[in-house]
Assembly symmetry: C2
Homo-oligomer: 352 residues x 2
């Protein structure tokens, strides 16, 4: 046991990267103390904290995350498995999540399953193997094996973009169905009776399904029926949506209002109308869902339901951190969505 602090020898150049033992030796303390300086500095006397920190800087010591994770069983890494990464609304949420995690010293790993719950399961498995501290998924419907895995591993799971206060798992989001009803009700209010729906593919996508459910339920509640062939499904793609729009307008009794599953679909439909010389909103009204940055700038600007994407991302991250660190955080967050009335909708028959 050392009884005195000797001046340290000049910095010998290590060929390997310095470890916590090197720092301990140079700072003349134990490895435990160095570890404490890093993790619980309040337990260490200020001058020792100082000394250790300058040694760390001197040696350019970088802690080994794998070793930390192995010893502490925490990686400070969180995984988000999203339906898709490129897609303005998700990339915005991812961006906000990543920033919130970074602020709190977590790193975010991402994967995309491209609307396949099977691929989602595979990603979850791979990420659990990497030892993520928590998992974030989009939507409420997932492969049962996903839930099994997560339960067995006792990893916090958050479902985003849905709000299910009575469900087993924490959620941050809103009711996609209620949002859909809100839009449809508005269009009925301003006199529309014939509707077309352009929806995303609903298989493996409960959000898309719920939005359409909402549209249809609202119409039904107002004694309006929508024929099956006035509901078109396609990928979230401008060209496919343009096709869908043409299909809808080619029917016997063409709709005066088109409800779109998101703003990409609405944009595709709107641009196709411009191309065809169909006037919006005079000839047909179009409503979106999400309120992408583009929506407000289109000509005419798009009526849509605003989803606070950054807020959802940030709250998801914060909720997950609360789960990981066992804070008394609310497990269910209902974010507010707003109907944004702009230029693509007008009263039915108002051939202005």
């Amino acid at each position: 046991m050392r009884s005195t602090r000797r001046p340290q020898p000049a910095l010998e150049k290590l060929s390997r990267a310095p470890t916590i033992r090197d720092v301990a030796r140079h700072a003349d303390v134990s490895v435990a103390t160095v570890s404490r300086v890093l993790n619980r500095p309040e337990l260490v006397s200020p001058d020792v904290v100082q000394r250790v920190h300058s040694t760390i800087r001197l040696l350019e010591y970088i802690p080994n995350g794998s070793a930390r994770a192995l010893a502490s069983r925490a990686t400070r890494m969180v995984a988000a498995v999203m339906p898709t990464i490129d897609g303005a609304i998700y990339s915005k949420m991812i961006s906000a999540m990543q920033q919130a995690f970074e602020r709190r010293g977590f790193v975010l790993s991402i994967a995309a399953h491209e609307y396949s719950l099977l691929r989602e399961l595979e990603s979850v498995r791979a990420l659990i193997e990497r030892g993520v501290d928590a998992i974030i998924l989009v939507g409420k419907i997932h492969d049962p094996a996903v839930y099994d895995l997560i339960r067995r591993k006792r990893i916090p799971l958050l479902l985003m973009c849905v709000y299910e206060p009575d469900g087993e798992w924490p959620t941050v989001g809103w009711s996609n169905r209620a949002g859909g009803m809100r839009i449809a009700n508005y269009l009925v209010d301003i006199g529309h009776r014939n509707f077309g729906i352009i929806s995303g593919i609903r298989a493996d996508n409960d959000r898309a399904a719920d939005r359409v459910d909402g549209f249809v339920a609202a119409l039904k509640s107002r004694d309006l029926d929508i024929p099956e062939d006035c509901i078109v499904q396609c990928r979230y793609d401008l060209a496919e949506s343009a096709n869908a729009l043409r299909h809808l307008l080619a029917g016997e009794q063409p709709p005066t209002a088109i409800l779109c599953g998101n703003d990409v679909l609405a944009t595709g439909a709107l641009l196709e109308c411009l191309r065809l010389g169909i006037r919006v909103p005079q000839d047909v009204s179009i409503a979106g869902y999400d309120d992408l940055p583009l929506a407000a700038h289109l000509v005419p600007p798009l009526t849509t339901l605003r989803i606070p994407a950054e807020q959802i991302g940030r709250l998801s991250a914060e909720t997950v951190i609360g789960l990981i660190e066992n804070h008394p955080t609310p497990h269910h967050v209902n974010v507010e969505v707003d109907l944004i009335l702009r230029g693509t909708t007008a009263p039915a028959g108002a051939r202005v």
Copy 2:
């Protein structure tokens, strides 16, 4: 030492997650053998591989990534630090990278620095601490400390969205400057003499700077000068670009052609023209850079330079994997960009 294989006891339920030792015990082999089955199965006899695999399935064993990483000094995790995540072009690249990495059993961690090289450095540090096997950055200009860190840690580094065959580090991309020249030359070719430029913020963004350099250099080479106040910088934002467009057209001798630093800026400018009743391309030509999916669908469709975003993402991932695994991969990949002529550009003075 066991001399015979006894039938295994019924699966005792472990309270903790099974480890490699549990698998070894149940399969009546050593942990070394289990490890080999996982990593180098060709070194193990087929029947043992079989037996171990079924034990793994039986116990629902999931290897601990941190322990693996600590022992093998490889995390199979790669980090990409991008300027931004939401931004159609980057999210597409990220998406393609992620898919390519996933196929090869890597996970991708991402961070965004929002065009601050200082924040980039901090992210790089945090990710190195996590033990990523490689780092991907966008552009060629970075904080010297980034290069220091990466050199000391001997971590492979790839620079994407640039092509620098003579540089120290591998690159996957193209010449942003040459791309800019290409567009500018085309517009001169069709008779334009008065230009306006809407560029992204060039500080801490060598790609934006190079694009403008290219625009200006091409004009100079054709004996055309562009006044300083015809070069406007703004964030990649539709509203800011709309402002820039108004500023440019308000000058003494308004430009007949607007060169935009990317498609977001071009879209903002185009939509503002529609709003102002300025006809595109009759009154003014507009050119973009990137070829986002939206570009082809705008009315009129946007003339732009196509950047193969998915290809760049995929090739970046593959190059990085080659670097990590020491394959004889080319360290520099020059992707092809194409000038896509569409409806927003027309010969100067052609008031059709």
